[in-house]
């Protein structure tokens, strides 16, 4: 990111996106970032090591000792009890992380690629294609995401019930919803960068469009992506849960999904059975909380105006030698990211 301070070159490790911000942060901002990172790490690790961590399979109904039984309260065998369908709650919560992560990764990757490509081309060349794309994306962007995802998932899911089929169906539904967001951001950045002096100087030199697009525009336009990525990841988890809750998500036998389990637990709540709903619900809340905290912290840290700094003792430090102004800051407009997302609107 281009917000680094002048003349200081950190080691490669410290230049990595999140690590860099972590070392940069102080005080409460660091606290929030760390809390977010911890929660996110727990989520990711749980997802990766689900097969090891989970005491049972996500669709396991019985073990050597016989069937688990439905709605058993927490016990030594089932630390969080069993669901109405007779699954082990803890196991399903753990496996659910895997589903969540897969969907998030697939959805966000797909939408990044599609959104970036469209945004870049549209923003760079402009013209009628740009106008059409902007109107289309604005229309989609303005429409309730969940509703769109539902319609998409119906259109896509026909015949899909395997694990990856389900994950892709959910992910693609979410992708369609997110493309406009990436499109807007990248397009706005592209339009901005297009009029930057260094792009103009490349034009004056006679550099071809493709070369300008990839060498000069693309890499500078993608600075905001890690940030949008985290913010979208949380939205993806919520959308997935919403789909699952409304019954448009992934099936219990092919994968475990928190929203779906919550739906199943609806009638348990009113019967005083808390252990089927609270764990998956908390899993959603904590995951989204973690990812959002990371995203917000990154947003704050990326914006020099929002970034807090360590206090220094009076009259310390060296006098700056030169009057160098770093090459452009990542000021995402007055509204931060939200403001930036807005730039694409006409």
């Amino acid at each position: 990111m281009a917000t680094e301070t002048p003349s200081f070159r950190h080691s490669r490790w410290r230049r990595l996106p999140v690590v860099h911000q972590l070392s940069q942060s102080v005080g409460i901002q660091r606290g929030m970032l760390v809390a977010g990172l911890v929660l996110t790490a727990i989520f990711v690790l749980t997802a990766i090591f689900a097969p090891i961590l989970a005491p049972y399979g996500y669709n396991q109904l019985r073990d050597d000792a016989g069937a688990f039984g439905a709605q058993r309260p927490p016990s030594a065998e089932h630390l969080l009890g069993t669901t109405v369908g007779g699954y082990d709650v803890l196991s399903r919560v753990i496996w659910g992380a895997q589903t969540g992560l897969s969907v998030v990764v697939v959805a966000v990757l797909l939408s990044i690629f599609a959104g970036v490509a469209l945004g870049l081309v549209s923003g760079y060349f402009g013209g009628w294609l740009d106008r059409v794309l902007v109107v289309v994306c604005d229309a989609i962007y303005a429409f309730p995401t969940l509703l769109l995802a539902i319609v998409m998932s119906i259109a896509i899911s026909g015949g899909q019930s395997s694990l990856w089929g389900g994950i892709f169906a959910a992910a693609i539904s979410i992708t369609v919803v997110f493309i406009p967001q990436y499109f807007r951001v990248i397009r706005a950045e592209t339009v901005r960068i297009k009029s930057e002096a260094y792009v103009e100087s490349a034009k004056v030199v006679g550099t071809g469009n493709v070369r300008i697009m990839f060498r000069h525009v693309l890499r500078n336009a993608t600075r905001t992506l890690p940030l949008i990525f985290t913010l979208n990841a949380s939205e993806a988890i919520l959308t997935l849960a919403g789909l699952g809750f409304l019954g448009f998500g992934i099936e219990p036998t092919s994968a475990s999904e928190w929203g779906f389990d919550l739906n199943k637990a609806l009638s348990d709540v009113s019967s005083g059975i808390w252990w089927t709903s609270v764990p998956p619900g908390l899993a959603i809340v904590l995951t989204v909380l973690g990812v959002t905290l990371v995203g917000e912290s990154l947003n704050d840290l990326a914006d020099p105006r929002l970034r807090g700094r360590r206090a220094v003792s009076a009259a310390s430090g060296t006098v700056a030698e030169t009057s160098v102004v770093p090459g452009g800051t990542l000021t995402a407009g007055p509204g931060g990211l939200a403001g930036l997302e807005n730039e694409g609107r006409s």
């Binding site: 015949g159 395997s162 019954g247 348990d268």
Partner: protein
């Protein structure tokens, strides 16, 4: 389990009591109405309303699955293709119009004329025309002779009589016009109608039919979307009766609650697994086609399914095991599958399944692709099939490849031989055994699973025209035995009707007519 089979009709009496006005009863449901117009709906929710407000020529009395004349004086075959119904005298609609045979003709003619996408006109497959020799007489000209089902069909969703002065002859009539036109002549009329939210019924003093007067002057029906909300409502006393559908968990929880009473009655809804005779393991079009082996596979499945476990674990007793093609409670129903398969007492038997497969030389495990619909048969289908999978696999005889598909796609795929074995459910149009046989096992049936047994076909056709009830029952039994041996489908669950009422409510009647009527309710 058997206790809830037939009875449940306790406290039904009171035909002569004069309908204790004043008080009102509120019923809650998660059913949905599609439209009040009988020509435009073919679903439980709408039929439930029609049963309260429209007159029927034939109807099922409380506690019985069989039909008797309702607003009719008499109904009988006057010739093999003529079914003649004579109306009672002096019938009127709530709006004051006279209810005559002309309304009857109008009702059936418009069913056939409109033949709405969502309508039940297909039930009138045997109706050729209706004649009205006089004000009170309607003669139904049938295509096939001696159709024993026809009387039942007059009590089915195709059977409500409507007011020709309110309804349109060739198009659906909007609900509001029906309500404003007071085109009602059942036990109740609708006083206020808020679509799928709240219907307020008023007792109809002019009803002269089979079922007698309503006990309670005002019945309000609240429509819920979420069964847990319905449950909370009945638990908190916001509503007096909750009928259809509480989740198994809710029902189990309410059973332990002293403020409410849980009523159970037999249900007409059944669940079954369909085998596609072409594509199932060893089916006709598979590489290793072998009818004997295919039969053995079906039989082994029937041996292994533990119906009791599904009913208890997944449905907490709101569904009961089903051992035949016709649900328990219907005239002619047997328990043929209990005798033929499993341990003979309804429990599964691994040994028998193993024997069967070995006998025809099948190397186990058999790989079975089993398909179910996740969104059409309630929220528990997933659990249900996960359990079936685990039951089949526990024996080591099967490896089940479980898959689910969204309903519309599912409906298309199942008739095009995509699924070797799949889940279906059935809710009857009328409570006659025929409705559980004809649609499934006649040639050219709607299952399209390539089951074809000439004997069964002939028996079904003959049952339809057999006049004597006992003889007809015997034929039903014979059909069940034959199909039981062939196993075109494996039925395994029968829905129980479950209603929950406040403990001060009397008259909850859940019987084999599978109709829930508000008139006996009182408190």
């Amino acid at each position: 389990v058997t206790a809830l089979a037939i009875s449940g009709c306790a406290g039904t009496s009171g035909n002569n009591s004069s309908g204790s006005g004043g008080d009102s009863i509120t019923v809650g449901t998660t059913d949905k109405v599609t439209t009040l117009d009988p020509a435009g709906s073919y679903d439980n929710g709408s039929f439930a309303v029609m049963n309260q407000v429209f007159p029927f020529l034939m109807n099922t009395p409380y506690g019985s699955p069989d039909v008797e004349p309702d607003i009719a004086e008499s109904a009988e075959f006057t010739s093999p293709t003529q079914y003649t119904v004579t109306l009672k005298e002096g019938l009127t609609w709530a709006n004051g119009n006279e209810l005559t045979s002309s309304d009857v003709k109008f009702s059936f003619d418009r069913q056939l004329a409109i033949a709405d996408d969502n309508g039940p006109s297909s039930l009138l497959y045997n109706l050729d025309s209706v004649e009205t020799p006089d004000e009170l007489t309607a003669v139904f000209n049938l295509k096939q002779e001696n159709d024993q089902v026809f009387a039942q069909i007059l009590s089915s969703p195709a059977g409500p009589i409507v007011d020709e002065e309110v309804f349109a002859a060739d198009a659906l009539t909007p609900d509001d016009e029906i309500v404003d036109g007071e085109a009602f002549a059942g036990q109740y009329t609708i006083a206020s109608y808020d679509f799928n939210n709240l219907i307020s019924y008023k007792a109809n003093p002019d009803y002269q039919g089979l079922l007698g007067d309503a006990e309670t002057e005002t019945v309000n029906v609240k429509y819920y979307a979420e069964s847990s909300n319905l449950k909370l409502a009945v638990q908190e006393g916001d509503i007096d009766v909750a009928f259809r559908s509480l989740s198994a968990t809710d029902t189990a929880d309410l059973e332990g609650n002293d403020d409410v009473t849980v009523h159970q009655g037999p249900g007409g809804e059944i669940r079954y697994i369909v085998f596609n005779f072409n594509t199932q393991p060893f089916g006709a079009t598979t590489a290793e086609a072998d009818p004997a082996k295919a039969l053995a596979v079906r039989q082994a499945v029937a041996d292994l399914i533990d119906r009791e476990e599904i009913a208890e674990e997944v449905y907490k007793g709101t569904y009961t095991p089903l051992y035949s093609f016709m649900p328990e409670g219907l005239t002619g129903a047997t328990t043929i599958l209990k005798d033929l398969y499993g341990d003979g007492n309804g429990a599964p038997s691994e040994e028998k399944a193993t024997e069967r497969l070995e006998a025809v030389g099948i190397t186990t495990p058999v790989e079975l692709n089993l398909q179910y619909s996740n969104d059409h048969y309630g929220p528990s289908s997933g659990d249900e099939y996960a359990l079936i999978k685990s039951q089949l696999e526990a024996s080591g005889l099967f490896t089940v490849n479980l898959q689910t598909t969204e309903w519309v796609q599912y409906s298309e795929d199942r008739t095009t031989d995509v699924y070797p074995a799949y889940q279906l459910g059935w809710f009857p149009d009328y409570s006659d055994g025929d409705n559980y046989l004809t649609p499934f096992f006649l040639q050219e049936n709607f299952l399209a699973n390539h089951y074809d047994n000439q004997e069964v076909n002939d028996l079904i056709l003959s049952s339809a025209t057999t006049v004597d009830p006992d003889e007809r029952s015997a034929i039903f039994e014979e059909i069940q035995a034959k199909v039981g041996a062939d196993l075109s489908t494996v039925p395994y669950l029968q829905g129980a009707q479950v209603a929950v009422s406040g403990s001060d409510v009397d008259g909850v009647t859940l019987d084999a007519s599978f109709k829930f009527r508000y008139a006996p309710l009182s408190k």
